[in-house]
Amino acid sequence: MASISTETKSARRKLSPGRINRLSAILILLPPAVLLFTVFVILPVFGAGLVSLYKYRGYGPLIEFNGLNNYIWIFTKRTFNAFFEPALRNTALLLATSVFLQLPLALLCALMLYKESFINNLFRLIIFLPFILSEIASGLIWTFMLDGRDGVLAPVYQKFLGAPYFILADKTWGFAALLLVLIWKYFGYHMIIYIAGLQAVPKELLESAQIDGASNLQSILYIKIPLISYAIKISLFFAILGSFQVFDLIIGLFGASPPEAFQTFATFIYEWGLSRRQQYGIASAASIILFLICIVTGFAYQYFVMGDQSVFRRSKRA
């Protein structure tokens, strides 16, 4: 910064008016955010780490030290298969659906709709709509859609199966319904990210490619997609982290305490900690596992995929 570089080193060590000004600015502007963040984001992670080593029912002091037994319990074959495995599998399904179905669909729509026109704007608006509805409302809307007796799809079930069918109670296909709702709710959001990227692609580039005889597909594959790589990387990052936190949709669709077959990582933590089971040690151990998965994925993604465009990049100026 200009004002500092002109000062000499000795002047910097003394409390010059400029330095007092700068120091007081930092002390006024920075601590509120750092303090709040520490109390509600960082301390809880340490808290979960601590509680994960105890048997704890949620009240009174931590007494019953349990070593790593909560973690061992989670990964012991019998209990793992019964409780943690479904949550893990469902989270993986969410991740795969999000990345391999939702994002390509969003990209396809963005390529179709990025140019400005009345009809395109209308389609964009419609496709974006579910994103702003609450997850709970979305879940309830789809419980009605899918209901075997009164729902919109009831006549369809009747026609093809000859009997009412309750997919949300079907342990095999219930989660597939949730995956459909996931796409319904979020693909418009990713589409908007891509559209913003596509609109910034220079027109001259596309025109000159056209003059050189590039086909539509070629200009998509070799110009548009490479030029919106930042938008794709960012939306992929949010899709990956988002699939680790699906909670509200599950509750909206399957009710307040969903069966094991429909649990996710987030509902597992809720169920074992704050809801029915009151085993805070186990919930905290699951929290720490989720934390580690997220942190490792997140940093690896920022470092290897985002590279120079990482959110952790140093400020250009400072």
Partner: protein, 265 residues
Amino acid sequence: MNKYLGYIFKYTFLSVLALFVLVPVFATFMGGFKTNGGLRINPIGFPKEFHFDIYREIIGSATTWRYALNSLNIAFFTVVLVLLLASMAAFTFSHIKFAGQNFIYSYLLLGLMFPLAVAIVPIFTINNTFLHIFNTHWAIILPQVAFGLGSAVLFFRGFFEQLPYELFEAARVDGIGYVGFYFRFILPLSTPILATVGVLTLVSSWNSFLLPLIMLGTDKAVHPWPLGLMNYQGEFTVDWPRILAFISVNLAPAVAGLTGGAVKG
């Protein structure tokens, strides 16, 4: 010829998608005008005759407005605090140089890396045992703000770095301090990014469910909308027209906001 085929394919595809998106919302809205029997015969289209009594009852009910006001209260303080705290912090990163600033910046971005669910059990204990704010809106607002800071700081720093630096140097020459510069220049010049981050924060706060579920007790007087929806569904389990009407009333502000925003551009 080929081109027309392409258009036909494109708009058929988009129309199917648009139906996939709209049918559930439309059926929900129409469902509120139907009777139980009418809904079963015709779950999707316009009702044979419109019954307004359910909508009238819901809009006239004090509980509905209580939910809306609670959501509004939580969203208001969440948005104001996220905008203020994050932009203040981002300003120190973009305009002041100090030791450890990259460390503190990365520290705040950790909030982007993992979901609230990780921290939810200890946050419950902190609110309950140490801050004694259980069953108050602050128990939702404070953690929500803390988890919103990461992305907000990221957006703000990027924007502040784009502002012309000469402005800052001129203000310094005129004897305006850092804090004064933040309030008198940065904030007024940043309305576009403040609006963007504000709307995103507003939507996520308005829709948030996990924190209210855990931090509020069974007293409906403090419940926000999403909890209200679950309460209502618990009360009227299979009375679909009622539930659908209640959902529709809940969706109305969001849908109106989106269309309004789109019309304005």
